[in-house]
Symmetry: D2
Subunit: 343 residues, 4 copies
Amino acid sequence: MRAKIQTAVLGATGYAGMEVARLLSRHPRVGASLLFRREAEGHGNEVVPPLNGNSQPLQPFSWEVIEKDKVDVLFLATPHDVSRALVPEAIERGIRVIDLSGAWRLKREEHRAIYGFCDSDPQKATCLTDTAVYGLPELNSEHIAGAQLVANPGCYATSVILALAPLLRAGLVDRERGIISDSKSGVSGAGKEPNARTHFVSVADNLSAYAVFGHRHVGEILEQLGLESAEFTFTPHLLPIPRGILSTIYLRLRQPTTACEVEACFRDFYAGRPWVRVFAPPQLPQIQFSLHSNYCDIGFCLAPDGQRLVLIACVDNLLKGAAGQAVQNMNLMYGWNDKEGLN
Amino acid sequence: MRAKIQTAVLGATGYAGMEVARLLSRHPRVGASLLFRREAEGHGNEVVPPLNGNSQPLQPFSWEVIEKDKVDVLFLATPHDVSRALVPEAIERGIRVIDLSGAWRLKREEHRAIYGFCDSDPQKATCLTDTAVYGLPELNSEHIAGAQLVANPGCYATSVILALAPLLRAGLVDRERGIISDSKSGVSGAGKEPNARTHFVSVADNLSAYAVFGHRHVGEILEQLGLESAEFTFTPHLLPIPRGILSTIYLRLRQPTTACEVEACFRDFYAGRPWVRVFAPPQLPQIQFSLHSNYCDIGFCLAPDGQRLVLIACVDNLLKGAAGQAVQNMNLMYGWNDKEGLN
Amino acid sequence: MRAKIQTAVLGATGYAGMEVARLLSRHPRVGASLLFRREAEGHGNEVVPPLNGNSQPLQPFSWEVIEKDKVDVLFLATPHDVSRALVPEAIERGIRVIDLSGAWRLKREEHRAIYGFCDSDPQKATCLTDTAVYGLPELNSEHIAGAQLVANPGCYATSVILALAPLLRAGLVDRERGIISDSKSGVSGAGKEPNARTHFVSVADNLSAYAVFGHRHVGEILEQLGLESAEFTFTPHLLPIPRGILSTIYLRLRQPTTACEVEACFRDFYAGRPWVRVFAPPQLPQIQFSLHSNYCDIGFCLAPDGQRLVLIACVDNLLKGAAGQAVQNMNLMYGWNDKEGLN
Amino acid sequence: MRAKIQTAVLGATGYAGMEVARLLSRHPRVGASLLFRREAEGHGNEVVPPLNGNSQPLQPFSWEVIEKDKVDVLFLATPHDVSRALVPEAIERGIRVIDLSGAWRLKREEHRAIYGFCDSDPQKATCLTDTAVYGLPELNSEHIAGAQLVANPGCYATSVILALAPLLRAGLVDRERGIISDSKSGVSGAGKEPNARTHFVSVADNLSAYAVFGHRHVGEILEQLGLESAEFTFTPHLLPIPRGILSTIYLRLRQPTTACEVEACFRDFYAGRPWVRVFAPPQLPQIQFSLHSNYCDIGFCLAPDGQRLVLIACVDNLLKGAAGQAVQNMNLMYGWNDKEGLN
């Protein structure tokens, strides 16, 4: 029996990858992690930059090093096509994978189309699509525990699914009237690649909507919640802040309901789940409250008619929306406490 | 015939009042304005602070000075109760008033209740409520032209009403399915009074919703658009930027419609209106585009089903949402060009 | 022998006090802390707000509760006059105090004058002034270990003193030519009290200098570094960020020196000190690098003449500049590792 | 006699070029401007984006179009090597040039070296270097009036030179003790090119120094002020704001002096100069005060010893630091009022 597991991170210079590396470096059950850079990331042999800690050595990706180090879990913080190409070999080698990209989240081909890997997809990848487990611990913990391949959810999707699942599963929502999520994200959600959209001057003192009716995260939201495309409208916005997501969600309840009943629905659903905090009205989550934590905060406001409901859900897009959730999934996969290494 | 009219501004140290003073100082048809401070604003006899220009003398409010200066138009950038108290006398003295507060915007008592001035309201004020004209030039120019008292619209309301009026008046909207405005505003919309909510550390790196189902601007939106309370949901959010509003508005069209038809509806409605810019898809307004201008920018995105519609409307809350619109109203009241003094 | 010590925090709703409470709640050697609110802070019996964690109960300050709980260390995150009034009794009761205010940092009366407590100072307080220990662990660890009363340094002072001490103590600085610190701080350094200066609209998109030649932290910098007033110029600026300090320090070396020698001077001085990171040229610290950590980062740039030297020093004003340093002092007082509870 | 002059702008999609285009479109003495894009800027035939106004047509650069349009003044908002290549032909064709790059600002070859165009410089360019006029109107108006080629100053340089010139020319400064400018700039000063440094996440919640002892603007500051390299230290910093510069300048006066004398020195020097505002102590300029204006604001704080002096100078880097100053230079070149088109 080994005291600690061995982990590796590929893409450790991106925002999410750096957070995974940082969390693993403090995790009591994890040995020193291998940090790999992607080829596109240059030739430095140094460093995750010394943000809030000391730098760590970075090396080019190599299966040999992975085998030699007896890596148990490989975290992929890579573009979806890189994940699509690498994962089959990792699984063959018996290495468990937690993939932070969108490569394995979607079961239905019509949703995968937006990622553009449907046609060229090798046979191996197609098989894995069916066995990959959607890594939202609060909804899916049993399957995650035994998974070889965990598809870590999208940041927006995490906030929307966690806010809607309790009400939908309880059959309280008038789905025909439609559900809307007006979501707002900090800029790290757009990735580290510099472009005109992420230039400081484009973002500061600004707010903009984008990808209306066409965002990649819609597919996983529909699949996880069992919604049809026509039932769900999603508008993401780019906020002038580095990190954090707030989703304002609008729906109509099937019957007049009290705030107490709504709150009870959430509290029952998330009983024993340490990383979801349900707010009692009139208190509402704000982005600051969950920043730099693994919490998903959920609050709501019910109209006097008892039917129109506004939900507010917040996550830190790099933690509960990415790296923190990935570590939470690892905890589940090894039977450790949900909070291990995440406080 | 006098070459220029005389104006006065009360509340010239607040954000909106300062902008009115700045605009009037550059208006070719307006002489040097009297700038009054409110009593609550201390005893300095100096200054609108030298933002982007030279400071201007400030004095305590006085009817005598107003009479002596033969003021034609009085701009009130004051709390609604101050406006409620002062306006009857101004009207009696034959001075036209453009009031930036919420004191005179609402016809229906149930909407006015939220301002709390219903009970103590003097008879004179009640009469004026009926004769006050809602000062949204693109919808109401004929009544504004002859008005003695113009109730300048709220900043959020301006963005929402201008975005919705064309479609509603054309009967295209399925009102039963409900209309939602998810609106986001910069901090100057919350006023200059320092408090825990406007402290830099509370706002920066944050986003928060507030006054859900209970914001003061809902009443004027309902009245101007002829909507019932149950048909409209409004959620304002506080953005970490100094100024600017973006409203994301969700509705369902009664019938499948093309983007061309939607765009044509907007272009027809706003033909000849220089301060509304209609964006052709897929371009969408952003807060930056209308900042420091009097424009209201409107764009939209139509779902493939041709029925679900997302509107984006942006204004600078201190200009088209307050001071710029006030000057536009003055232009209408004197038969000048809509753009006079606003470029 | 007790396994853990007991601590209490007074002023646990302010920015620094909240950070102290947060750090103590995770410290492995500390039991559940008592959190006291100051009287001025209202009557809520709840909460440090649930920032990144769960809320904690808050109570009015009481010596009885402190005695009953057998508090070992009392942290004061209070205005200096409150600290001045409370500390003598705490010391009499045998409770060790770590005071985050400026009440006990200054030995020379001419420096204390700026705080205004010289005249009314009780005899007890005057005695304590002499025995209070300036709590900068990297310079003063021996005295801190045995101290009853630790005066936790100011945030600006921490960055300036740690950057200058190695060179001054090595006699390398041409003091006659003068030393200048141009320092910039995030807004949390100005405290939680809302006022015109901390209003979001006043700070965003802005930078301003203040208290030039008159800032309270100058006294402790002079005393700790043994400088005369004429030798040191200090200009603080208010940055549009919530937290973090960067000091750009200008001095002239007595003799032409190499960058290697300068770096060696810093590395020797801070050998074995985990919370100071010395940067090798040309890398320079940035505020982001030390944010949310207890590090003080120091870098430098030497002119080609080998004499003009620019130092850059960064701290998180709420951690190494306040709460983190306070916990580091507690670690020293109890003989624990410098890093205990601070990772 | 033509009523209006004809102008053209090359580089009208960059930050400074867009501001030039915007200012020219409102200038009463200027006809519709030609707007050229640089080849590197893609093939769109549209637009300066509709920031605060309507979009304007953009075309590829062409001498034929310039000749056909009888352009009087060509504004270059281009990289210095593009300016270096284009200007000789413009001058030959009799077109006056206002160049916003660093191509023609420097007389001394040792200063030009940093731009890297010394070796490959054609003969024509070398000649023009001598005849180019440094376009700082408050110091150099006589030469600008008759200039064929105006080298528009750098943004940092404008703030530093205007703050120092009055005292240096009056012989009040102890130059041997050294002058330091600790300058801070918004991100638009770094240009529109997206890169790791200008990514929102790199800038927000941050402050960083760069190019210490090696910034390109040092040369023009030394030349214009007649300083030796050893007498002047310059440290630029990148602020988390879109625009605006604040320079904090440290110097020692040769003799004890009163604040009145210092203020008088500035007021005398800038008498009749509308775009420099001198602040009376204790009021100091802030970046917000001059934002979106062509003002350079100057204030100061004198130590009790009457010799240590801290100057604060602010400009909007895109206006007085670039486009506004360019238009001011054009006003001088045609004998118009300094303020024409700049209010």
